[in-house]
């Protein structure tokens, strides 16, 4: 049996394996512990945090679509103050790097969150979600305007000393332009993709099924789009990428790594199989053994 090396690097972060829990699908880590040993993932990304508490969107907030799920949770979270008071100690107990996913409705929101989270060594890095609407800019998401992506990255970097991940939205014409803007703004790492804007209609009620009309599509249905974006960005950008979107199996994870991702995140899969992250790590190992690949790092970008 060959000795497998699953370690990977994301800028200054060293992960013992490349499989991360995706934001919004693992609570604050502890909620999963009955099903997934919290020491297993390469890192844990907690639910999106905003300055003020948020109750999220009206019900229904979720529905299934073919090989996908459509959610409109809408960033329900306790807000910064409560997060610092109660959740920081929870994540402090975890033995793996914890990434905090942050969201805002103005550039100042992002800068403020970055500054307030800077002091805490319990946090391994920030993942900046630019999919939310920019209220000052008429409500289009930050992540759809490269100038804003640049500025968000810049403002967060200015205020946060640790690694900064910009998490891009796929709802754009040119994902490479957005990734390049994030790099120009100083991002250390890029996450992609967030969910695809989508909807479902209830034909009995003759109206949108979700309380919020629109929602985000995730799961296997979007994997081919996510993979394309990772491949495009990896072809053009030098900083490491966390690939995600529909990863259900080790083989899916390998596709993303071959497309250029240095690590992957698993979201929807956990909602169906709470032990998915552990299973996917095992399946990656099986592939490596079968193909006689010793170091996962050697696979990164091999399909480019």
């Amino acid at each position: 049996m060959i000795e497998l090396d699953l370690t990977t690097r994301l800028a200054s972060l060293k992960l013992k394996n490349p499989v991360i829990t995706a934001s919004g699908t693992c609570g604050y880590g502890e909620e999963l512990k009955e099903y997934l040993d919290p020491d297993i993932p390469g890192a844990i990304t907690v639910k999106g945090l905003t300055i003020k508490p948020s109750v999220g969107n009206p019900a229904p907030r979720i529905t299934e679509t073919p090989a996908g799920i459509l959610n409109s949770i809408g960033l329900e979270n306790p807000g910064l103050e409560e997060f610092l008071a109660t959740k920081l100690s929870v994540i402090g107990k975890l033995n793996v790097p914890v990434l905090v996913n942050i969201s805002g409705h103005s550039l100042d929101d992002f800068a403020f969150l970055a500054e307030k989270l800077a002091p805490y060594p319990q946090i391994a890095g920030l993942e900046v979600n630019v999919s939310c609407p920019n209220l000052a800019g008429g409500g289009m998401a930050f992540g759809t305007d490269s100038e804003l992506v640049y500025r968000v990255a810049y403002r967060v970097k200015e205020n946060y000393p640790g690694p900064v991940i910009i998490k891009l939205t796929p709802n754009v014409t040119d994902i490479v332009e957005m990734a390049e803007a994030a790099v120009a703004g100083g991002a250390d790492i890029i996450s992609l993709i967030n969910t695809l804007l989508a909807m479902a209609i209830d034909i009995d009620d003759k109206r949108p099924l979700l309380g919020n009309t629109f929602g985000g599509l995730s799961g296997p249905a979007i994997k081919p789009v996510a993979l394309r974006m990772v491949y495009q960005v990896a072809s053009r950008v030098k900083i490491p990428i966390i690939g995600m979107g529909g990863i259900m199996t080790g083989r899916d994870a390998i596709e993303f790594i071959l497309a250029g991702a240095s690590a992957v995140a698993v979201g929807t899969a956990t909602l169906i199989d709470p032990g998915a992250v552990a299973r996917i790590i095992e399946e990656i190992k099986e592939y490596m053994i079968e193909k006689e690949i010793k170091r996962i790092k050697d696979l990164i970008g091999q399909a480019l």
Partner: protein, 259 residues
């Protein structure tokens, strides 16, 4: 790590117009199951298929003497339609029991149980447990006789006092189950309710007026069923609560219904 358990289908029978009774063997679980809890089933025989993708939640309807679990389900969409194809001996991936069930420490009380439609499924299990030590009255309601027939037979068999309301009057009282309660004017010490939200809202209003405490079981669309995704939250006077984790059973007083 408690990952989904593969359980065996013992039977899967049509017991009403679009109702099925599913009996599954899951000895490992039955001792830890309480009325009001639910299981989360991965439906779809080809476990390589990602459609359907999500698990489906179903309340525990009953436990057999041999500790098999009964689920009662109505065919409404893709998942439940596929579920009807399962035969004796087929395997199902089950996560559960999940959620907080009814709090049950009642002795010698006058208890009212009100159920509407499929909301009656978990109440049957509850009623059986409570009937031993309490004075029980069950009111159930539905569209018509056909929908109620199965429940009528079960409650009759269990020797539990009950009355029926149907919208078309084809069985029992004509009207909603809340109308029936209003009419028969039962004044219990405590009540339990499960059913469509509109019904629960009315029950809450009346109970408040009469000063009757109680518990309700809620339904929301779910993804994870284990508290990580916040898909299933419902408004309460303590803020949003997860139906899959803090619920599905809540105290009647705390739930906030939108209008």
């Amino acid at each position: 790590m408690v990952i989904g358990l593969m359980v065996e289908v013992k039977s899967n029978q049509r017991v009403g117009n679009d109702y099925y009774l599913l009996k599954i063997r899951a000895l490992e679980l039955t001792d830890s199951i309480f009325p009001g809890q639910f299981v989360h089933l991965k439906i779809g025989r080809d476990n390589l298929s990602f459609d359907p993708l999500l698990r489906r939640p179903f309340s525990i309807h009953d436990l057999s003497d041999e500790k098999d679990i009964y689920l009662l389900y109505r065919v409404v969409g893709k998942g439940t339609r596929i579920l009807t194809d399962y035969k004796t001996g087929d395997k199902l991936d089950l996560l559960g029991p999940l959620g907080q069930g009814f709090k049950l420490d009642f002795v010698s009380r006058k208890i009212l149980i009100i159920g509407g439609g499929m909301g009656i499924a978990p109440l049957y299990f509850l009623a059986k447990r409570l009937a031993k030590q309490n004075l029980l009255k069950v009111l159930i309601g539905g569209k018509n006789k056909e929908e109620m027939e199965y429940f009528i037979a079960r409650f009759r068999q269990a020797d539990i006092e009950f009355a029926v309301a149907t919208m078309d009057g084809s069985a029992g009282f004509q009207g909603t189950v809340v109308d029936l309660w209003q009419k028969d004017n039962t004044q219990p010490d405590y009540l339990f309710a499960c059913g469509p939200e509109a019904m629960l809202r009315e029950v809450q209003v009346i109970a408040q007026k009469k000063g009757i405490p109680g518990q309700v079981s809620l339904e929301e669309r779910m993804a994870c069923g284990i508290g990580v995704c916040l898909s299933c939250v419902h408004k309460t006077n303590k803020g949003n609560q997860r139906v899959c984790k803090e619920g599905p059973v809540f105290s009647l007083e705390e739930v906030v219904f939108d209008d």
